[in-house]
């Protein structure tokens, strides 16, 4: 398939996944606030911290109020990682490859974006935020479902899945990174109700709470981190995402899993193996933040190598690729 098209479908899915993750962060935060009314007012700042874009926020907004944070994360077009910017990016990419994706996918994506740009959306986001951010998540899920059930699982689909999986792995690592950083400085809180609620919220950010409970029952920071990084079956764990991305990547080149026919497969395969043969004790020993930071930069490298392997046969001319890479989250 055309390199440009592969690039667009990859980014379309990354952007959708990104929009969904922002909605997740906000959703979970809203729930948290209901449980801890005394914390009101303190809890919007960490949300922006999770994104790594405090500087951008503070340039434009005075205080970390609910209104300002929701405006920034959901509707601010000048913020490249807001829900609306992500969706605009997804739609723009989708529009350039309408002939490749199914019309169901396109119509859903188009509608998703158009309704979000409606003024009514802003009102709803402030007046009934629980419902609003749930809708965003469900629409993203619907898109993923349409991707799986209306589009042939060929090369284009494999690129779509890689984009989605890499973005998801990156976001799960960020949730964990920030929460770990925020929660650890208070050892006296360990096993207190607040701590439990907080770690529950971490799990909920990744829709992982129920699946975690079935696996581990008791909530401990160690096990939560282990579940989100290393669980082999949970669909939002980093290991699971990387492993799925690896399968799709091998399908594209037609090379057997476990071998590597290009640089992208080498880099991704190596990360996959590391995730299979590392455990949480090693991570804690070497430092959680350092580990996650390294993981994110390896995901970024994989993204770059996929670009040079498949998308940028003529890198000087391919302006759009550069644009899109600039707007990926840059954290730490």
């Amino acid at each position: 398939m055309l390199s440009r098209v592969a690039n667009s479908i990859y980014w379309m899915c990354r952007y959708i996944e990104r929009a969904e993750n922002v909605a997740r962060f906000i959703s979970v935060n809203l729930n948290l606030l209901l449980d801890m009314p005394s914390e009101k007012g303190k809890h919007w700042e960490p949300l922006v911290l999770t994104t790594g874009d405090q500087e951008l926020f503070e340039k434009k907004y005075q205080n970390y109020t609910k209104e300002a944070v929701i405006e920034f994360l959901a509707f601010d077009r000048s913020y490249p990682n807001s829900i609306i910017s992500s969706l605009a990016g997804a739609r723009e990419n989708g529009r350039s490859i309408r002939e490749i994706i199914s019309s169901e996918m396109w119509e859903h994506l188009n509608n998703f974006y158009l309704e979000l740009t409606d003024v009514k959306s802003q009102t709803m986001a402030l007046e009934d935020p629980h419902r609003f951010f749930k809708i965003i998540q469900m629409r993203s899920h619907l898109f993923t479902g349409l991707l799986d059930s209306t589009m042939s699982h060929g090369e284009a689909w494999n690129f779509a899945r890689i984009g989605m999986m890499l973005e998801r792995a990156d976001k799960t690592s960020r949730i964990l990174d920030v929460k770990y950083f925020m929660l650890l400085p208070h050892p006296d809180l360990v096993n207190s109700p607040i701590d439990n609620i907080q770690w529950t919220s971490v799990l909920k950010s990744a829709s992982a709470f129920e699946m975690y409970r079935k696996e581990h029952h008791r909530i401990t920071p160690h096990k939560v981190a282990s579940f989100l990084i290393f669980d082999s079956q949970f669909p939002r764990s980093i290991r699971h995402c990387i492993s799925k991305a690896d399968i799709c990547l091998h399908r594209i080149a037609g090379s057997p899993e476990g071998s590597a026919s290009n640089l992208a497969e080498k880099k991704l395969g190596r990360l996959k193996a590391d995730l299979e043969y590392t455990d949480i004790d090693e991570v804690v020993k070497s430092g959680m933040h350092e580990y996650l930071d390294d993981l994110q930069s390896r995901i970024n490298q994989i993204d770059e190598v996929i670009g040079t392997t498949f998308f940028n046969l003529r890198p000087l001319i391919d302006v759009s690729t550069n644009d899109q890479q600039q707007s990926t989250t840059t954290n730490n």
């Binding site: 350039s96 396109w106 003529r314």
Partner: protein, 476 residues
Amino acid sequence: METFRTYDPEDYYDELIDDTGKPRPGVQLLVDKIESLPEGDLAMRQREAEALLLKMGITFNVYGRDEGTEKIFPFDIIPRIVSGSDWQQIENGLKQRIFALNEFLQDIYNGKKILKDKIIPEDLILSSRTYRKECEGFTPPRGIWCHVTGTDLVRGRNGEFYVLEDNLRCPSGVSYVLENRQVLKRTFPQVFEASHVRPVDDYPTKLLDMLEYLAPDHVQSPTIGVLTPGIYNSAYFEHSFLSQQMGIELVEGRDLVVSDGFVHMLTTKGLKRVDVLYRRIDDDFIDPDVFRPDSMLGVKGLIEVYKAGRIAMANAPGTGIADDKVIYAFVPEIIKYYTGEDPILASVPTYICGNDKDRSYVLEHLDELVVKAANESGGYGMLVGPHSTRAEQAEFAKKIVAEPRNYMAQPTISLSRVPTIVGDRIEGRHVDLRPYVLYGEEIYVQPGGLTRVALTKGSLVVNSSQGGGSKDTWVL
């Protein structure tokens, strides 16, 4: 809701209602259906149709506004109905016309017999901005130049059809014909079924057949692409729609590269050869080596490969000379010259400003005439005399005197009208008709075409870029 009972065709030819206020043959069913709708139902169906178009993303981009500004092409749900006998004349006339124009193109770039026989003044051709010296001595694959044409027709007060202009370069709009039909099938299913409307959905198949027909002989299953300027082009939706319907690649200039004497696409698995391009980029931008060197849209070296016969292109570069608005005046002679027949479809009388006598007539009658620049499209560079101010006329007079070759003028034709929904009323609005013609192994005319409607009361300008809309066209 004002219904057809009180509808007044006034002093115009109305496509649906005759002088006595009765529906024309074949229209009765539709009128009955609309009359029987409960209060407000028609307006509701209209809104639903518009919402559907927006949801489906059937939009066009507006030039000169922010990048990415998209609008739906306004769509009116009352169809325009064309009788079988009217259509027969149009179809025959278009086949004759396109055949002759293709002969003309071949001749003008190879031998120029028509100039030597002094049917057309030589300097008129050689001075045209759309004449491509680069194409001299070249014969495109299968001898076809104009593979896809959209010819604009209008109907005057007397009910006769006239050709207003031919569009042989990159005519657009056919995707709206197909999509409007989808929407209208949902809007008036019963009437539609009972009226025996001729289908239009065959078009993508016919287009694909034609493109395959152009492929070099030795190529077993050709790789075909639609070449688009990209998502900011006003017709991008159409480019993407057609390539999707045909299941072929949609490529931009940056996806293509010339290497080893062939044109290739850049794919995730390396280079892949392309055999046929349906190009939707103007000549000027198609190859920076040959035409405009600053073009970012085209493909460097494409023309060389094309001339070597290693890639086919529809439409052929150079076709623009046949739809120059000044050459238009000579089409009746062109038809006679190459076919020996009289034109089946009439042309509008035309004054050529490059001609001294015509020019002085035009300058004296600017308030009555429509003046057009030879190579503009989309309703730009145009003066509609009866609707213009003195100042506008004076300004146009200056332009004409400065550059007479570039202007032609025609009497204002009182365009026919079709009942159209305006708020909660039905009013007559002026329309034209653009049927689409494909020239491959044989010549195919899509039954129907795009009816464009001037939504502003009294306006004669139907272009989408100037606030026009469209209607479904039913050929019975």
